[in-house]
Amino acid sequence: MLVAGVAVPLVSFLLLALFGARLGKPASGWVATAAIATSCVLATIVLYQWHFAGVRPEPHVFTWANLGTIPLKVGVNLDSLTVIMFFMVTFIATWIHVFSIGYMAGHSDEVDGESKYHRFFAYLGLFCFSMLGLVIASSLLFLFIFWELVGLCSYLLIGYYFDKKSASNAAMKAFITNRVGDFGFIIGLGMVVLFLGDLTLDGAAKALRVQYAENGTLFAHSFLGLSLATWMGMLLFCGAIGKSAQFPLHVWLPDAMEGPTPVSALIHAATMVAAGVYLVARIFVLLTPEAQTFIAIIGCITLALAALIAIVQTDIKRVLAYSTISQLGYMILGMGLGAWIGALFHLLTHAFFKALMFLGSGQVIEGCHHEQDMRKMGGLRHKMPVTCWTFFIGVLAIAGAGIPMTQIGLGGFFSKDEILAVGWHRAYGQGEVDAAHEMEHAAAAMPGPWAQAQGAGHGAVTASDTPAGHGHEAAAGEHGEGHKVTPAWPAHRPGHWLLFLVPVVIAYVTPFYMMRAWWLTFMGKPRDEHVYHHAHESKLMYVPLIVLAVGTLFSSYFLFRPMVAEAVSEIGLQQALVASYDGGHHAEAGLAIDHDTHKYLSMIVGGAFVVGFLVAIAIYWNGLGLAERLARTFQPVHTLLVRKFYFDELYGAAFVGGVLVIKRLLYAFDKYIVDGIVNLSAAVTERLSRFAGNVLDARGVDGAVNGVGKLALELGGVVRTPQDGRIRNYILFALCGAGVVLLVVVRAWAS
């Protein structure tokens, strides 16, 4: 059924690609919407059957081709994570399609007298197809293929207004930056093929465990101090760095906002960029502790940088873009810390509220006649009440609003907390929390790290059986009997305090910049009469907003988290090389996360959104005046942030500049050396040909030819003398010949 769900958008794409121009303006949009809505219905049915009726269809795997001795297996991977991701993608995509019809209606989209309206929806269909394919692919190879397809769609859609220079540049930037990451990814894939010999996720994970147990190539050899297994994990993660816009490849995402706003919402906020996180979730079973630390550090850097840059952005879409990068950083950090559930949970909640906010900004931009500068907005709440309040829900959600110490709160409140909670444990684990509880966590953290399959011996179950006082060594020892055990992922990691502290600080920054954006746009007094005057809402566009807002409010904790938690045991994370930190524990303990850790965190972070909001409101209460004074006071910092830490300039100098220098060198080489050789050879050829023409040809060749002719002529003159055409002469010759023959014969006869 999910396969059918994948295929429907493809059909829509083909239809629109072939007949879109004839379908015309609104019709092609509705075709695409109908297709994705069908997928969404299918996804809902599957979700219902899976989650409530407990139906578990058999996975379907077959061999596509053989690569030498390695079978390339193709199949559909079905577990809770797939189902919930599939549902999320189709659901959001459906409403974004609806929104797009309204959004694109008001755009002039003629290029060379031909409407490209249908192209937009064709691309969206192709994107949905590839994204859904990516979600359900069970082998890394197919994951990679769909991965590249979504990259292509992203390129096409960013460059939708390709007649605009900045848009086509942004598209190229996105594509090229992604190539850098994908290069690492494909090397990683090569290592998987070479060392593990199996591209399916399960097979590769199994092979890796065997390798570890036997101390195989991947672990026995190291490069630059890290084992090959670690390198493999890091290289695979490179793909996620590119796609999820992580440091240092984050530069493309803000520029990608050149695309139409629905595209930003669907691809560059909710789904495609999250594919990187999804990839890490899938390859989690292949990651070594070192690789995880690497991932966590990358995520931590990203979330801090992006959040700081977001503070000073004035373009409403760019604020959202940087906040997306920052939130992706949270997810990646969560993955790196082992907060598998938390990261995916955050992915799902983020998809909803970020799509919501992007669509809201699309509404604003559309209503204000393509004005994206927040400094010119303000007071729009009167003109766009629905947009204003749905956007506010999004802001609350991303800020992690909730009431501390309770179960009441929005998605971001739980999901971000969950990541931070794990970070807390990593950093301060044993000291702060009461010993018995921590024990449980420690053991849960490594339900037999590097352990072979222990049947139902889940970490948490084992942990509760482990007598207190033995610590995690006991648990590890119990599982690791018979082969070498490395305490792979000790719960307590003093060096990790930064990985906890930075996200916590940024958790205060997030509400600030989101509130700033909201306040500047909707609150206060109108700052530009012209813009304000034009502002309006359209119905086709605010219905999706309301739907997504409701989704943001209610879906997350009841649906997403249990599904993700369920996926943990299905994928067998407990048996993974490195168990996810919260994996075993939460799979068993269910919602029991908010114990002590959560209590502390609630106090530290739970109020963050209030603080952030208040600061933002205080600064922007009276428009931009105070903000500008602050900017002047902290001039260097402000400039640094406005310049986005000079990444674009740095890359411009290092890579683009480097390429230009190489270009110039090559040009010089070309001009002086290659051209020199060519010119020299041309001159030599010319001389030679002149010599050949005048001397060799005229005297030698012509002479020979003419000589032969003359010879033939003279010979002919000699020979033709007897051929005078007189028959009696011929007969005379014949007679003479016959006489000679007769003479010879008679003489021979006689003797």
């Binding site: 033709r720 005078d724 055409g725 007189r726 028959i727 009696r728």
Partner: protein, 103 residues
């Protein structure tokens, strides 16, 4: 009474051959040359028949002679066709006048 034997035939055939050769050599009229060719052919045929009659006693010589007669007829037809064309072009059948190919 003198019996006529092989020798007489051969002498007659040689005489006919020489006559044909002579005619071919001195005649300028194309039809005359054709008649010379016929004389030579008939001389050869006479030889064949005579040898067949007196030496082998079989009929192969006579059969070959029949072939020669048929071929001579065909040859005469072609030759006369050529002469007609010759006459159309040059208004004569004097073979010495057909020297336009001679540079």
């Amino acid at each position: 009474m003198l019996t006529i034997g092989l020798t007489h035939y051969l002498i007659l055939a040689a005489f006919m051959f020489c006559c044909g050769l002579y005619v071919m050599t001195i005649k300028r009229n194309a039809v005359g040359i054709l008649i010379g060719v016929e004389l030579i052919l008939n001389a050869a045929s006479l030889n064949l028949v005579a040898f067949s009659r007196y030496k082998t006693g079989l009929l192969d010589g006579q059969i070959v002679a029949l072939f020669v007669i048929v071929l001579a007829a065909a040859e005469a037809a072609i030759a006369i066709a050529i002469f007609v064309n010759y006459y159309n072009n040059l208004a004569t059948i004097d073979v010495d006048r057909g020297d336009s190919l001679n540079g």
